[in-house]
């Protein structure tokens, strides 16, 4: 039996979308191309894709990230995106929510509802998903420090609307390690934070079979200035760290391996990005099988979400961003992404307007419906150039893994935490960011409209206006919820949370779900945990 025969067998078992699969001039297309003994999609080592039939069975999920203002504002945008043909929801929270602070916290002033939606209590979460059945839509929630608290509220909404927990489908980012390395939205020190991640992984393994309890994210590492190589290596290293944390908590590798998911950037260097996704799949499969002993094929198959590179967008001649986004999105699709967010062209200026958000979704639809690229799996596999780049990225990532593993005396978890403690990741990323800026300054890299081709229309389109009244509205709602809740219940549930936080063998999810149900605020839950776990300050460097 050749490798092609094995692939044929898996392909034959896959349900397919309606065809015909052919070129514009009617040439019939096979599901994949390559010699009989080549690598094949859906087969070890999964370089060419996690599934044998890839987009022939199902297109990627077009998942547009949205969130601003109050829960009502974002609920309206969600419904618009679903009506326009979006196939999943993705929630952006405002900065105070991300950092576990209530809207009435002094440090939240000016930030309520600005860069995402403000959520203080489970009541806001009910409003956010009002009229949307949690059992029939897949939801992504981008939150890390306060992930367990927000997840508890989401579960609370499901419980209250009689949706089975087992029917919940979606992803919560819950990737705290890259916060210390890149995005800097941390609260507690790394060790207790990793415990919270592991608690959610354990809880999902037991109760949420269709949920991805962590989305291991390179996106922010790249946005902070890393190279593609660093994005690949740091992200997978963080993935290995979570695997080790979950194993230490007593789970078996195949109990949670299939539910791990990833999130990568789609930057503008087209072929390198495609090679990055291919290398990621091959590395993950090998480490999961050979290092961590996974046997379930689903534990070996790296599945990922992609977002086009916000950092590649320019404020100058912003319409040009439409072209950048289309090219980046195409790299994600040719790289075999499972879901995709396309940035709006006005995002270097402000949060996107409705019109810009719709154009971004349309860009994906053009790629899906008009270009024909979704008919054949890994169409660039076998290209000498792409294969060579894939191998090279893999080699460079392995060199970084060796450094981390040595630092951790054989443990990736300990190595990653040690390199967070001494600021190694931050320095590496800052160095790469400065190197790129120096290339721009020297004219060695041309950014159209910024340091080249600067003549032309530089007027800015109208941007999204967020009513400053949002803050007042949210503060009034929070006060009302606090007024109406049972204070004894609140005190009791916070006491339970405090006690259980002090015992690392207890899973904190049940206590958080109980707290959410009696309308404990995000800030109250987080500061209770902070009282036990402590606060993190990053090591100083320039």
């Amino acid at each position: 039996m050749t490798k092609r025969d094995e692939w044929e067998a898996s392909y034959a078992r896959s349900p397919l979308r309606a065809g015909p699969f052919e070129t514009m001039s009617g040439i019939p297309l096979e599901g994949v191309y390559g010699p009989d003994e080549a690598e094949f999609p859906g087969r070890w080592p999964y370089t060419r894709g996690p599934y044998a039939s890839m987009y022939r069975s199902r297109l990627w999920t077009m998942r547009q990230f949205a969130g601003f203002g109050t829960a009502e504002d974002t609920n309206r945008r969600f419904k618009d995106l679903l009506e326009a043909g979006g196939s999943g929801l993705s929630t952006a929270f405002d900065m105070p929510t991300l950092l576990g602070r209530d809207s009435d916290d002094p440090l939240a002033k000016g930030e309520v509802g600005r860069a995402g939606v403000a959520i203080d209590t489970q009541v806001d979460m009910e409003t956010l998903f009002d009229g949307i059945s949690l059992g029939s839509v897949s939801t992504s929630m981008t939150i890390n420090s306060a992930a367990a608290v927000i997840m508890a509220m989401y579960i609370g909404v499901a419980d209250k609307t009689a949706v089975e927990r087992a029917a919940l489908s979606g992803t919560i980012q819950n990737d705290i390690l890259k916060e210390y390395q890149a995005q800097k939205e941390y609260v507690f020190p790394p060790r207790p934070s990793v415990r919270l991640v592991a608690d959610l992984i354990r809880f999902a393994a037991a109760e949420l079979p269709r949920w991805h309890p962590v989305s291991i994210s390179g996106y922010h590492i790249r946005e902070a200035g890393s190279t593609a190589t660093q994005e690949l290596a740091f992200t997978l290293a963080n993935g290995f760290a979570y695997v080790e944390a979950a194993l230490r908590s007593g789970l078996g590798i195949d109990e949670f391996g299939p539910r791990l998911s990833f999130f990568f950037n789609a930057h503008i260097d087209f072929f390198e990005e495609i090679a990055k996704y291919r290398a990621a799949r091959r590395i993950w499969a090998r480490w999961m099988r050979d290092r961590y002993g996974a046997r379930d094929p689903r534990s070996l198959q790296l599945r990922f979400h992609t977002q086009t590179a916000g950092v590649s967008l320019t404020a100058q001649q912003p319409e040009v961003n439409l072209a950048r986004v289309a090219i980046e999105a195409l790299a994600g699709v040719l790289g075999g992404t499972q879901s995709l967010h396309t940035d709006a062209y006005d995002e270097a200026l402000a949060l996107p307007t409705d019109r810009a958000a719709r154009l971004a979704l349309r860009t994906q639809q053009v790629i899906a419906e008009e270009t024909g690229v979704a008919q054949v799996a890994d169409p660039l596999g076998g290209s000498w150039y792409v294969e060579s780049l894939t191998d090279e990225l893999e080699k460079r990532a392995e060199a970084i893994f060796s450094h981390l593993e040595e630092t951790g005396s054989g443990s990736m978890l300990d190595g990653v935490v040690a390199c967070i403690d001494d600021g190694w990741f931050c320095r590496e990323i800052a160095d790469a960011a400065y190197e790129f800026q120096s290339k721009l300054a020297a004219g060695q890299w041309i950014l159209v409209g910024v340091n080249g081709y600067t003549e032309g229309d530089d007027r800015h389109p109208p941007t999204l206006y967020i009513d400053p009244k949002v803050e007042a509205t949210q503060l009034a709602r929070l006060a009302e919820v606090k007024q109406g809740r049972e204070n004894d219940e609140v005190r009791r549930s916070l006491a339970r949370l405090r006690a259980e936080a002090a015992d690392p063998t207890i899973n904190l999810m049940p206590a958080l779900i109980e707290a959410a149900a009696c309308h404990v605020t995000v800030g109250e839950a987080m500061s209770t945990l902070e009282g036990v776990f402590g606060t993190w300050l990053e090591p100083s460097f320039v």
Binding site: E111, Q183, Y186, G225, A350, Y434, L447
Partner: protein
């Protein structure tokens, strides 16, 4: 016009926003240009920034914002600097929509450095702000955005 000593700049992020790529790149651009950088980093309050600016005797304060809170935070920093008795010029970096520029100018922001500002613009803006601090205010200007 020789400088008695190198210009000193305090760089900080105010509030909860952790996006520090821009601030770190600016720190290195300024350092390479012979400007002394005091890097206060993340999660600062306007009061912390004003106190550090006095203590470090800086000529310019630079804050970076990517969280949409500039209309609240920039005036608060200016007010905190004013109460120290020596109003140090404030340069804001990051994403500030066009519609907010008049309000920023009215609040007394010395200059805004938007996305795509070149190394030369960054250095020149800080030097100009330092001069304006020494000689009295000039109208706000904007570069690169």
């Amino acid at each position: 016009m020789g400088e008695a000593r190198p210009i000193r700049v305090l760089l900080a992020k105010i509030g909860l926003d952790g996006h520090d790529r821009g601030l770190r790149v600016v720190a290195r651009i300024l350092r390479d240009a012979g400007i002394e950088v005091v890097f206060a980093g993340l999660r600062q309050t306007p009061e912390m920034v004003a106190a550090a600016a006095m203590q470090e005797d800086v000529d310019v304060v630079g804050v970076s914002m990517h969280n949409g809170a500039h209309l609240t935070i920039a005036p608060a920093v200016i007010e905190a600097l004013r109460t120290t008795g020596r109003p140090i010029p404030l340069v804001v970096g990051g994403i500030v929509p066009d519609a907010d520029l008049p309000a920023m100018q009215e609040a007394g922001v010395a200059a805004i450095l938007g996305p795509g500002a070149s190394n030369e613009e960054v250095e020149a803006t800080v030097r100009r702000a330092a001069r304006s601090g020494a000689e009295g205010p000039e109208p706000a200007d904007q570069h690169g955005g």
